[in-house]
Amino acid sequence: MSDAIYIVLTLILFGTGHAYIEACARLKGKANRG
């Protein structure tokens, strides 16, 4: 059970990292328009 918790947590963290890249890229578009 604990293995599953930590595997899911890791996947969430790396997924967050990917979403964070997307957010930074989107912010660039906004900053350039501003």
Binding site: Y6, I7, T10, F14, Y20, I21, E22, A25, L27, A31
Partner: protein
């Protein structure tokens, strides 16, 4: 402080100065894919690896794709290490028949080694099999260091390139960092360490009969007589070499580089300290060469050196002072004793080399220790903590130190621009809103993680305070040090804190992950944005980034940002402890 001690510190810096340029020029050639003396051996290996993995070495990557590749690589290697730890009881090279590592500890360790932190909530010689140490941990020392170098090179390309959308190829950069930069010196360094007495074998632990038997009272009150001692050993030298060169710091033994099998003599100690700074120092030359501004690289090197020198001076001074609580004891330097505070230090290294090692390892996000930082005087212990709080930019981790420093460079240029009322420029690139937004994000995540997690831990008697062995300001320093070390990806421990609990394993794991990945994402976003910009010619109003004035401003910005952020918590921890020590109280 003694002349002998200062002479050894000066020798270290002189050797570093001599080695920095050749190492830097070599790395520049490697990442610009120019000819090197290792090509006849390594080029065929590189080509074979690309053929096997299907990598097109000529394909360039946008900054976001570069980061996605890095995340995929890091996730894959993290899961591999986690699996090895959990399955080690069923895998070979486990002569001590060590059981599987518990899930929370295995996860913490896998994150730790993936992020180049090498925080260890465990005693390696009683927890990790030889296979885990070699395949799970030592390999990660190479991988995580190579990732750091690749990212630093990508950042430099961002500064150097004009009107381009790409920063290079992650797979090519990491392969060249592994094959050219890390593997050859690690092999040579491991052999040098073996020649000096560092252990390298796959034998089961030996047992030695004690000359003098010892009686020990257990926690249950039972008295037992100890007649033998277990001599832990294993493939130490091969792990030790990359532990230093890759600024990883995770020890094969719990005592790390104070263990005689890891660091047997003053000579190995000097070599290990040099190995920590070698690649980070060389990368400043890479910065200068690739941006066609060698003097800028040396200006950054100079700023780093000033901060290093200030750190080692303060630590050495603090540790050379007598302890005021030891009334009547002779604590002066003489032919038969080192004087000052020798608690937690190895006699074969003394105060100067322990203070120097502590400064280097916390400047460089290495985390190896040759003495116990918890046993330093309050101010002596504050200095390693402060070094980490500067953001690990004083040479810093391999790659991570340089890109962290370059974020501060952008801030320094921005502040200089504000002072003279013109758009800031950095090596021909205008620094605009997005660059500053991303740089601020980078700088704000760091204290948010450290202070946030520390606050939660010290407010919880059950989760945080129950792990402490010291109370008062020293206890606060222990928790603060742990989260600072984790977030800064340093990995050294202050000791005195039982971090092998569900709470600390999980939150320190989160701090290490966020301290690595959530900081480098905005960092590379800045690089991508810079690469796409046009070059503007320098004018009389351009702030030069090659002068001592620039280096001074850079040092000032780093100190002001870090001290304003962390002074309140330092005043509640080591500074208060220092004042109370002189009032006659200890913790």
């Amino acid at each position: 402080m003694t002349l002998n001690g200062w002479a050894q510190i000066a020798l270290f810096f002189a050797l570093l100065l001599v080695l920095t340029r050749p190492i830097g020029l070599f790395m520049t050639a490697v990442f610009e894919r120019r000819k090197t003396f290792l090509d006849p051996v390594l080029l065929p290996v590189e080509r074979l690896l690309y053929r096997l993995t299907g990598v097109n070495p000529d394909e360039e990557m946008h900054w976001s794709l570069y980061l996605v590749a890095m995340l995929i690589f890091s996730a894959a290697t993290l899961f591999l290490t986690y699996a090895i730890e959990r399955l080690q009881g069923h895998l070979p090279w486990n002569p001590q028949h060590l059981a599987a590592v518990a899930p929370d500890l295995a996860w913490n360790t896998a994150i730790s080694f993936t992020t180049n932190t090498n925080w260890q909530s465990y005693t390696p010689e009683t927890t990790m099999s030889y296979l885990t140490q070699m395949l799970g941990l030592a390999t990660h020392n190479f991988w995580s260091a190579a990732v750091g170098i690749a990212l630093a090179v990508a950042f430099i390309r961002g500064i150097a390139r004009r009107e381009m959308k790409t920063l290079g190829n992650f797979w090519v950069d990491i392969t060249r960092a592994l094959l050219w930069v890390l593997a050859p010196p690690s092999l040579l360094f491991a052999l040098a360490l073996v020649s000096q007495g560092v252990v390298q074998n796959l034998k089961p632990y030996d047992s030695a009969k004690l000359v003098q038997q010892q009686s020990v009272t257990g926690t249950d009150g039972k008295v037992s007589t100890i007649t033998t001692q277990t001599i832990a050993q294993g493939p130490v030298a091969s792990q030790e070499a990359i532990k230093m060169l890759g600024t990883n710091g995770g020890g094969f033994f719990n005592a790390n580089s104070s263990h005689p099998f890891e660091n047997p003599s003053p000579l190995t100690n000097l070599l290990q300290m040099l190995a920590i700074f070698l690649i980070p120092a060389g990368l400043t030359v890479v910065l200068g060469e690739m941006t066609k501004s060698p003097r800028h690289g040396w200006a950054v090197f100079g700023a780093m050196s000033v901060l290093w020198f200030a750190g080692v001076t303060a630590t050495y001074w603090a540790e050379a002072q007598p302890n005021p609580l030891l009334h009547g004891a002779d604590q002066h330097v003489s032919a038969t004793q080192s004087g000052g505070n020798m608690e937690g230090k190895e006699v074969r290294f003394g105060i100067a080399n322990t203070a120097l090692f502590a400064t280097i390892t916390t400047d460089a996000s290495c985390g190896a220790v040759n003495g116990m930082h918890d046993s330093f005087s309050p101010i002596g212990g504050m200095m390693p903590l402060l070094n980490m709080m500067l953001g690990e930019v004083v040479f810093g981790g391999v790659g991570a130190g340089l890109y962290g420093m370059l974020i501060f460079v952008i801030m320094a240029v921005f502040i200089a621009g504000l002072m003279v009322g013109r758009t800031p420029e950095y090596l021909g690139k205008k620094i605009e809103a997005y660059d500053i937004q991303m740089s601020m994000l980078y700088l704000l995540i760091f204290p948010l993680l450290i202070l946030g997690f520390t606050a939660i831990a010290v407010l919880s008697p059950k989760l945080g305070l129950s792990s402490l062995t010291n109370q008062g300001p020293h206890g606060l320093s222990e928790i603060l040090y742990a989260y600072t070390s984790a977030t800064a990806n340093n990995g050294s421990a202050f000791m005195g804190l039982n971090a092998n609990t569900h709470w600390f394993n999980t939150t320190l794991g989160l701090a290490m992950f966020c301290g690595r990945f959530l900081m480098l994402i905005p960092m590379l976003a800045v690089a991508g944005n810079l690469a796409a910009k046009k070059s503007v010619p320098a004018t009389a109003g351009t702030f030069p980034v090659t002068t001592p004035m620039f280096a001074t401003l850079l040092v000032g910005v780093i100190l002001i940002v870090s001290l304003l952020t962390f002074f309140p918590v330092l005043s509640l921890g080591p500074i208060l402890e220092h004042l109370l020590m002189h009032a006659g109280r200890s913790f």
